[in-house]
Amino acid sequence: MINKMVKNIKRPIFMDLLRIRMPVVAVLSFAHRVAGMMLCLLIPFVIYLLDLSLRNAQGYAEALAILASPPVKFVAVMLLWGFSHHLLAGIRFLLIDADIGVERDSARRSAWFINVGGLIVPVIALWVLL
């Protein structure tokens, strides 16, 4: 089996992303990964803010000021897309593991709902902020 795979290593590979038709479920899966990587980059900043906010009263005020500054708010809105998409898609995966929504039609419908819904959450947040 493995030998066969190694021998077949020169199989044709077609990776023109603009010409591959991406089903909505593939878009969801890919966005789930992109969002996950975005959230990973966020981890050290969250720990830093926690550290700062617990150090002393001055650090607490500084941490709140950082969170309230416009550029941070802007980045937070983008991260809100990552968070809501990752959370919703994750819940969808858990439900599919539990045999709920596995059918092709319902799997597609939920994928559309999450891809669009994940975008609506930050738009609402932006609206509230402005």
Partner: protein
């Protein structure tokens, strides 16, 4: 099923950590909405509650494990040269481990102070 080689352990860890994080974040946001700390003293006192120190420590452990399984999947899928893959995995592991020690120190100090 072969426990070590099947990926079952990673699959299970990813799901257990996901559920725990969703519950913890829900609890944390609910606290901020219902009873937001109004001062440094209140915030520190709340973070130093044994229940919060313990659940927050488990949260960060779950977060770092979740990040490890996810990033490992991405690296294994897209980085094929073995040397490069190994270097990236080692860097990610070292970074996550360092963040774990850092946050553990913060949470333990918060509890002691």
């Amino acid at each position: 099923m072969i426990w070590r080689a099947s990926g079952f352990r990673a699959w299970l860890l990813q799901r257990l950590s996901a559920v725990y994080m969703a519950l913890f974040i829900g609890m944390f946001v609910l606290h901020l909405v219902l009873d937001a700390p109004s001062s440094y003293q209140e915030w520190r006192t709340w973070m130093a509650l044994p229940f919060i120190t313990v659940t927050a420590s488990i949260f960060f452990a779950a977060l770092l494990i979740h990040a490890w399984v996810g990033l490992r999947d991405v690296i294994i899928d897209y980085v094929h040269p073995l040397g490069m893959r190994f270097v990236l995995l080692a860097l990610v592991a070292a970074g996550l481990l360092a963040m774990g020690l850092w946050v553990l120190r913060i949470l333990m100090m918060g509890g002691a102070a």
